[in-house]
């Protein structure tokens, strides 16, 4: 028999959920609604006049081949950032988990980069890789490699991916590390007694047990790559060379805050909203099936 708490009447339950509903309405539904509403207009920056254009903003966007290309750029960028921030984090967590002495220091040091603001991280990486003047590009030059991310799109992409993923490794490390600590020792010891070596135990026991954390981090990191990386891109490449690092959210920022084109910027936000919504549905529908809680 199912056990559930029942309320008499509607007043109390409504009162209890009211704060949550209110917060969602003020901070999520209202701005999202505004973005959708604004996407049907071309306003002037000062809000003095506004032209209703229907779906004109969307037509303008989708007719722009550079905007369409930026979907691919975003996909490549997000996948790379997610992989480059999760794999090293998992590796470091597994290593830290095996440490007996000094693991506290090691953990603390690994968490530091997370405290660096994305834009500052961007500037640091830019200094190191500055064409002709940066430390690393200078050494690369000595080795005969001509580093030039201001003209080479592939190198620019590599640089923004590394700069975006770098600080994220710390965050992911924390979660992986905590999850590893929660893996029952008895299971691992049992496997060890059966003769399974470290990597075998890792693949067959630890990794499956980590899957809820991995899935959570996958969702969170993709959202991060989509929305929070524009500080890094802005400081390092400003979307260039040509358009090789212009991801969708950077275009929202530059059209809205550089170009003061709020209509197009709103329309792009709506498109992003749909894309991320779809992605999340896909993730929960297909990938979550492979997750064991």
């Amino acid at each position: 028999m199912e056990k559930r708490v029942t309320f008499r009447g509607w007043a109390l339950p409504l009162l209890l959920i009211a704060p949550q509903v209110l917060i969602s309405a003020v901070f999520f539904f209202y701005p999202a609604g505004q973005a959708i509403w604004q996407s049907f207009f071309i306003p002037d920056p000062f809000g003095l006049t506004s032209q209703f254009v229907g779906l004109g903003n969307f037509e303008f966007l989708l007719g722009d081949k550079f905007y369409r290309a930026s979907f691919l750029t975003t996909a490549v960028f997000s996948i790379l950032v997610t992989l480059c921030s999760m794999i090293p984090a998992l590796f470091l967590a597994v290593m830290a988990d095996r440490l007996i002495k000094g693991s506290g220091v090691y953990r603390t040091l690994l968490i530091w980069p997370y405290a660096v603001a994305p834009a500052v991280a961007g500037v640091l990486w830019l200094f190191m890789f500055n064409t002709r003047v940066g430390v690393i590009s200078w050494y690369l030059g000595k080795l005969g490699y001509d580093w030039n991310h201001v003209l080479n799109g592939g190198e620019a992409m590599g640089l923004v991916v590394v700069a975006s993923a770098w600080g994220r490794i710390s965050y992911n490390f924390l979660f992986f590390f905590a999850a590893l600590q929660a893996v029952p020792r008895s299971v691992i010891e049992a496997a060890a007694i059966d003769g399974a070596r470290f990597w075998r135990r890792f693949w067959t026991i630890v990794l499956p047990l980590l899957s809820p954390t991995t899935f959570f981090l996958l969702v969170v990191n993709i959202v991060y790559a989509f929305f929070e990386t524009f500080g890094v891109i802005h400081t390092i490449t400003a979307g260039g060379p040509q358009q090789s690092t212009t991801v969708l959210v950077y275009k929202v920022f530059s059209d809205g805050f550089v170009g003061q084109d709020l209509g197009s910027s709103s329309a792009q936000s709506v498109v992003l909203l749909i894309v991320v919504g779809l992605l999340t549905v896909i993730q929960f529908k297909f990938i979550e099936k492979r997750v064991h809680y």
Partner: protein, 437 residues
């Protein structure tokens, strides 16, 4: 002591000021300057506040140019706008189109009764900020123009006479070959590529950058930067880039670091780069006029300015506008302008300030600092060299940067790249036209 006290009050929060100066009318001034320039602005404001007792100007730094403009726009929407807002030159069309948000400077000055003589300002400086009827809409504040910087030591190291004539690109072309042959691995570098090699290039050769008098005559303007003259110049630069005679370092003024460190021989950059280069360069340097192509267009015409102007915003009391008028009149006065020009390398906005600087012997002591002034004022501006007035221009510059990168990397020919820049830029101009109908 009194000065520092006022300064402290002026820089402390806006709440403190009215308490200290109850009877004075407050004027808010938002600008985009930090560092040395920020200090100089602060000093100007302090001097004005100390010079009279009716008004207090409160200056606040609001971030870089884009951020300051955004802060002004956001404040206007919240009806908290400052009296005076600094807007960079590419935001001019945005401000002009916002008729209900701004109060033209000539109206403010007439109403305030402060001394104001529109003819005192240098034509090619104020031209950027006047309407087609000749009325001044915003007050030019900091204006510079591109010039050619020469590392004389690098010339000597490559066995070239540092006094070689570099007035035409034909001569520069030959010198680049010699520099390369002489072992120089960064013969030419530039800052602000679109501003120097397209916008100024077009004005300097008296060819249109955009139709409708570069946008001065109407919002239905279209880009004309894919013209024969521009394409020929960019083709030549593309060749130089391919042969590693022109080194591309980025969209902004990244090249300045390379030049100041002595890495590069020639540098096309704003005349306002003077202070930085003088402070850091450990080599002999020279300022030369921007080169032109002999036989192309009507070069050399005059170059155009970059920098910012001060816009007066709508929605304040008459009494406050009087204070604004007094302050702008103070800023235009000859000694304030002369000091500003000499301290920063920016152009003086009045001819009188330029003459005062010459009379004080500044140009003799700092040779080359008058090159920019001469280059701007040698000829009366034409429809092609008055300036640019294009909506969404900050973004159009971004598009131009992208297309220029395609030329430097060899992905596109100059013609293809500029045709594409025109097509993409025109689309933004049409959106701007719709937004401001």
């Amino acid at each position: 002591m009194k000065k520092t006290l006022i300064g402290m009050l002026a820089t402390s929060s806006a709440i403190l000021v009215p308490m200290a100066a109850m009877a004075q009318t407050e004027v808010q001034f938002w600008h985009a300057f930090t560092g040395r320039l920020g200090e100089l602005v602060k000093a100007q404001v302090e001097e004005f506040n100390a010079s009279q007792s009716d008004y207090v100007v409160v200056e606040s730094h609001k971030g870089n140019y884009s951020e300051t403009l955004n802060a002004g726009i956001a404040a206007f929407r919240a009806q908290e706008q400052p009296h005076i807002l600094m807007v960079f030159e590419v935001g001019t069309a945005t401000m002009m189109a916002a008729g209900g948000a701004i109060k033209p400077v000539h109206e403010v000055m007439e109403a305030s009764g402060a001394t104001f003589d529109p003819d005192a300002y240098i034509g090619s400086v104020k031209g950027y900020y006047t309407s087609t009827d000749g009325d001044m809409l915003s007050l030019p504040f900091n204006s510079s123009t591109p010039v050619l910087w020469v590392n004389r030591d690098a010339f000597e190291a490559a066995g070239i006479d540092p006094d070689t004539d570099l007035s035409t690109w034909q001569n520069v072309d030959a010198v680049l070959d010699q520099l390369k042959a002489g072992g120089e691995n960064c013969p030419l570098v530039t800052a602000w590529q679109s501003w120097i090699h397209l916008e100024n290039f077009s004005a300097y050769h008296d060819v249109p950058f955009a139709t409708k008098d570069n946008g001065f005559a109407g919002l239905d303007t279209e880009l004309a930067l894919n013209g024969e003259a521009q394409v020929a110049h960019l083709t030549a630069m593309g060749e130089w880039a391919k042969d590693e005679k022109f080194i591309y370092t980025g969209r902004r003024n990244e090249g300045g670091a390379n030049f100041r460190s002595g890495d590069c021989a020639l540098f096309t950059e704003s005349s306002a780069g003077y202070a930085g280069i003088k402070a850091e360069a450990e080599f002999d340097f020279d300022v030369r006029p921007l080169p032109y192509w002999e036989g192309v267009g009507n070069g050399p015409q005059n170059t155009i300015i970059g920098g910012a102007s001060l816009w007066v915003m709508e929605g304040h009391e008459d009494e406050e506008y009087k204070g604004v008028g007094e302050f702008l009149s103070f800023l235009s006065s000859s000694n304030v302008q002369a000091a500003w020009h000499q301290n920063t390398g920016y152009l003086p906005i009045t001819s009188e300030a330029g003459e005062a600087t010459r009379a004080a012997g500044f140009y003799d002591e700092n040779p080359g600092t008058d090159i920019a002034v001469i280059q701007m004022t040698a000829k009366e501006p034409t429809a092609n060299s008055k300036g640019l007035r294009l909506g969404s221009f900050d973004q159009i510059r971004g598009i131009i940067d992208e297309e220029l990168e395609a030329i430097w990397s060899g992905d596109k020919s100059a013609q293809e790249a500029m045709d594409s820049a025109k097509e993409r830029g025109d689309a933004l101009l049409r959106r701007f036209e719709t937004a401001n109908k």
